[in-house]
């Protein structure tokens, strides 16, 4: 038996030649992630009369490779809020564990978990800001949907720098370019949220997911959708983009090996 721990589990020197000890170096400059690796794309959400609806597709891309096609990017918190994650999937899993431990801690309270979506957003933005200040950011852009302290529908976003931004309908990633204009057309600023029904909101999200699948090359036609109302959170994890029509693709010019 060899009693030197640094040799354990390594290729034997007498067979493979001596091991390059520079791999064992523990000193040197600390390095941090400077770009995400496995990523999720857009999250889209809309406020409606009495709640919020939120959707995200189930793809985790490894660069341009569609690496995982069954990733749940909507995270329900305390059956009253939903966090939708865009960006790095491993950082999403880390934040999921943070939220899990908060949920457990809060449930020790006699009156149960009383953190609402607004509290959750404040917390997440502080986590993001702390990590960006350590030059080791959590590479995500999240949407938090639920209710605020007064029981009004709440929707807001937090990004990897700790910025927060709020609007009646929002989207992260490519959705910010492709879905938000659709939502603005369907639900113009002057139309009050009270006018928007749950069905309107869900239909709008379905439309957005379709357009995103058409035009965002890092997206998938399978998605999760969650509807948050006073009665709780209703999540559907295996939705599919309906009534796809690729007829428009014929008319696209300027890419590939077309001659005319």
């Amino acid at each position: 038996m060899n009693h030197l721990p640094e040799i354990w589990g390594r290729p034997r020197n007498d067979i493979y030649g001596s091991y390059n000890p520079s791999y064992l170096k523990t000193s040197g400059p600390i390095t941090h992630t400077s770009s995400p690796t496995v990523t999720g794309t857009s999250v889209v959400a809309v406020k409606f009369n009495g709640g919020v609806a939120i959707a995200a597709d189930k793809l985790a891309s490894y660069g341009s490779l569609a690496r995982f096609t069954d990733v749940k990017r909507l995270r329900v918190f305390a059956n009253s809020s939903v966090v939708g994650f865009g960006g790095d999937v491993s950082d999403m899993q880390y934040i999921d564990r943070l939220l899990e431990s908060i949920d457990i801690r809060e449930h020790y309270s006699t009156h149960g978990n009383m953190l609402n979506a607004k509290n959750l957003l404040t917390y997440l933005s502080k986590v993001f800001y702390k990590r960006r200040s350590q030059f080791n950011p959590l590479w995500n852009h999240v949407l938090v949907a639920g209710f605020d302290g007064n029981g009004a529908p709440f929707l807001s976003s937090a990004d990897l720098l700790g910025n927060t931004f709020s609007a009646p309908h929002m989207a992260t990633g490519f959705g910010a370019h492709l879905a938000v204009p659709i939502l603005r057309r369907l639900f113009p600023e002057e139309r009050p949220i009270e006018d928007i029904t749950k069905d309107n909101a869900v239909a709008a999200l379905q439309e957005c997911m379709k357009v995103l699948f058409y035009r965002d090359a890092r997206s998938l036609d399978e998605y999760s959708i969650a509807v948050i109302t006073k009665d709780g959170v209703e999540v559907k994890e295996d939705e599919k983009v309906q009534a796809q029509s690729w007829a428009f693709a014929e008319a696209i010019r300027g890419y590939g090996a077309q001659t005319a």
Binding site: T110, H111, M114, N116, N119, T122
Partner: protein
């Protein structure tokens, strides 16, 4: 472990903790009570000598919570500073007032640690914590042993038994009463503990109240309000009135 330690544990007693609880009994009395909407703390302040100021008995922790102390004021200061920090931390990271039961269990954990760690001593102070959260107003009793209870009404400190008797007898009256009546009940309980030659004055009375905001108010909670000095005049007058009124409807001359 020493022999005396083993004997203590065999008897399920830790004398240090019992001595700390004696310090609470030496402190001047504080009373706390809750109803459906409010939690009230009242305290009897003492001055060390005729020309000195009075020792603080009721302390605001945050806008939704306050404490009343009986025992070593310096230990109470340590605990209240810790509670203030925790409350501020909760407002910073979550943007919400910390639930009173959470902070009470935090100070209870701290106090319990002091009863079993080498070189430490228990806190020589008992607290009544009044606060409000989503579920309504709450009152907690905290002891140096680290024991905490949620209470409907409670009194700790010197001669507090008299106040507890009053609270037990009148519980059904104050569970559904108004804000002002609740303060009056608190002060009447406090008054029961006074010795013959003493009375409640604007100098020795402290009142703290927190609760749910009434209809049409801006926020959900009515912020913690501390009454001391001149502010207590109307409260003390209300006590006198309620006592004379309670005398079988017979109006009585009361010298003020």
């Amino acid at each position: 472990m020493t022999d005396s330690c083993l004997k203590q544990l065999a008897a399920r007693r830790i004398f240090q903790v019992e001595y700390a609880q004696e310090a609470v009994k030496q402190g001047s009395v504080v009373v706390g009570l809750v109803n459906k909407t409010h939690a009230v703390l009242v305290g009897l302040k003492r001055n060390a000598e005729e020309l000195s100021s009075y020792q603080k008995k009721v302390i605001e922790i945050d806008s939704h919570m306050g404490i009343a102390i009986a025992g070593l004021a310096s230990d109470a200061r340590v605990l209240s500073n810790y509670m203030k920090q925790q409350s501020l931390g909760s407002r910073m990271t979550y943007g919400r007032p910390i639930p009173p039961d959470r902070i009470v269990s935090q100070i209870a954990d701290r106090a319990q640690l002091n009863t079993q760690q080498y070189g430490k001593r228990p806190y020589g102070v008992g607290l009544l914590v009044a606060g409000v959260d989503e579920a309504g107003p709450h009152l907690f009793e905290f002891q140096p042993s680290g024991l905490t209870h949620e209470m409907l009404a409670c009194a700790i400190g010197a001669r507090s038994q008299m106040a507890r008797t009053y609270l037990e007898r009148n519980m059904d009256k104050f569970l559904n009463c108004s804000r002002d009546e609740l303060i009056t009940h608190g002060l009447r309980a406090l008054k029961e503990t006074l010795s013959q030659d003493k009375e409640l004055t604007i100098d020795n009375t402290s009142v703290g109240i927190v609760g749910l905001a009434g209809e049409g108010a801006k926020g959900k909670f009515e912020s913690f309000k501390l009454y001391e000095g001149q502010d207590t005049v109307p409260l003390l007058e209300a006590v006198e009135q309620s006592e004379s009124g309670g005398n079988a409807g017979e109006s009585m001359e009361v010298d003020s």
